[in-house]
Amino acid sequence: MEFKGRSISKGFARGEVLLSREPISFYGGVDPNTGVIVEKGHPLEGKSIRDKILIFPRGKGSTVGSYIIYRLAKSHMAPKAIVNIEAEPIVAVGAIISGIPMIDKVDEKIFDLLRDGDIVEVDGDRGILRWMGRG
């Protein structure tokens, strides 16, 4: 199984999927020290995004979010790769300045076809996500 999208931030990563059908705000929504989602009522509240292939529709919130992604990456708490349905500048810029591979414009069916814990590869240069197996 392969999803073709668009390259946003270059690089290659392999890891476990973490899905969120809701948008994510990194500023205020993610603890910058631990990578745990803290937004009240968010479907991923209490879960860590560390080392995951984080798949969510799009970013939201303050542009300071780009800096939070950078901080997470510097303290090794960031996701290994980011996959969006529709990228917006907060998360896109955050991924680029942090060197996190990122792609967007993947089919929305990805939320039905993948499960948390699945192993996937993300090719940020070519904009491709490849399913490798159930975790």
Binding site: R6, I8, S9, P32, T63, V64, S66, Y67, I68, Y70, R71, K74, A87, E88, P89, I90, A92, V93, I96, I97, D104
Partner: protein
């Protein structure tokens, strides 16, 4: 997006890591918004300066990013979190002060002027009609597009910085004339008496029109200060990048009045003031200067405060340059003799004042929004005379 051979070289890292990262940011944004290519800019205004807002995450990024990076165009800075000369008086601790100082030093090392103001157009960063620029700070963006007729999107601090380093920005949104076309005609059916009325008008229009670009009729006159307050308010409440006012703004003649139509009546303005007034009587602080005050506003405040004593904190925020001019004219001495403070480099919305004051009166609807959100104040909006009168009385009457 099309890149010139030269731009490709930058992206490949031939001009160093700083330029490469900056170009990568611009290309990603250009892709997201389907920009055809990059266009040269003549100026940048960079936000994300207050340590209170960007925190250690922002400081770390700037430390790394600034190595070897220099801006190519005139670039000015938004306010930081503290008046560098009077942080003790502002009840701000030393650690904050040091981190704020480092942030400003990093920006300066990249060739950015430490103007530390949200009104770059009052301190020499004044683009002409038709110039492409990359500004962050939403109030300045709305002012530049509408009043000056310059072309800028609502940039973030990082995208404006990247644009300043490369000297270009992706061509989309507000850089294309057709996207500046008004979508709704707003007919004002009441007279605006005070500048704060213009600020409340921004809120009232936003409430009725949402995200449509307004073409406003019925505003006969507006000085720079009124337009500055209006721009800040409509940018806050509607997310507006541009507005047109018949007879006043830079491009109103270039477009026909849209067919869709709403009215703003006296009642809308009154209801606006009603919404923009929390319940309280005892006043801790009065704040004028969102956006930063001009020399003319300082002159008016001087007149209102002459030989009087304030009963609350009265903070007037402005830029260093305007304060220096006012000092030479003797305004600052009169104002500060009353007990008021003319504070520079920062503002009440981006300073770390959480818990230090509870209630605030101001003449700006933008200040209402951010003082409540960031510093949890209770806030009332009133005209300048009423604000100063409240500072003298100590209570809202």
């Amino acid at each position: 997006m099309y890149l010139t051979p030269e731009e490709d070289k930058i992206l490949a890292g031939e001009y160093g890591e700083g330029m490469r990262k900056a170009m990568e940011i611009l290309v990603a944004i250009g892709k997201i918004y389907d920009a055809e290519r990059l266009i040269p800019i003549s100026s940048a205004q960079i936000s994300g300066v207050s340590y209170h807002n960007i925190g250690d995450a922002g400081l770390e990024f700037l430390r790394d990013f600034s190595r070897g990076a220099k801006v190519k165009v005139k670039a000015t800075l938004n306010p930081g979190g503290v008046d560098l000369g009077r942080w003790r008086e502002m009840k701000i601790d030393k650690e904050f002060m040091e981190k704020q100082g480092e942030i400003i030093k990093i920006f300066t090392s990249m060739g950015i002027e430490p103007t530390l103001t949200c009104t770059p157009y009052l301190v020499g960063n004044l683009p002409s009609k038709g110039e492409h620029i990359a500004w962050s700070e939403s109030s300045a963006v709305a002012y530049a597009n509408s009043v000056l007729g310059a072309y800028t999107n609502r940039e973030s601090g990082i995208s404006a910085l990247a644009a300043a380093i490369v000297g270009k920005t992706p061509m989309y949104g507000m850089h294309l004339k057709e996207n500046r076309r008004p979508g709704i005609r707003v007919v004002l059916k009441t007279e605006l008496r005070y500048r704060s009325d213009y600020s409340v008008l921004g809120y009232a229009i936003a409430k009725k029109t949402g995200h449509s670009i307004p073409y406003i009729e019925g505003v006969d006159k507006a000085d720079l200060e009124s337009l500055k307050l209006f721009a800040a308010s409509i940018a806050t409440y509607a997310g507006a990048a541009i507005f047109h006012i018949k007879g006043l703004t830079a491009e109103w003649m270039d477009f026909e009045a849209p067919k869709d139509y709403i009215e703003i009546t006296k009642r809308d303005i009154e209801e606006g003031y009603g919404f923009l007034r929390d319940e309280f009587r005892e006043v801790d602080m009065v704040w004028i200067g969102c956006p930063h005050t001009s020399l003319k506003e300082l002159e008016e405040i001087t007149r209102l405060l002459k030989d009087k004593k304030v009963a609350t904190e009265l903070w007037i925020t402005t830029s260093r340059q305007v304060r220096e001019k006012a000092e030479r004219l003797g305004y600052i001495e009169v104002i500060e003799k009353s007990g008021a403070k003319v504070i520079i480099d920062t503002c009440v919305a981006v300073a770390p004042l959480l818990g230090k004051f509870q209630t605030l009166v101001t003449n700006s609807a933008k200040a209402f929004y951010y003082s409540r959100g960031v510093n949890r104040f209770k806030v009332k909006v009133a005209n300048l005379e009423k604000c100063i009168d409240t500072a003298l009385r100590g209570v809202w009457v």
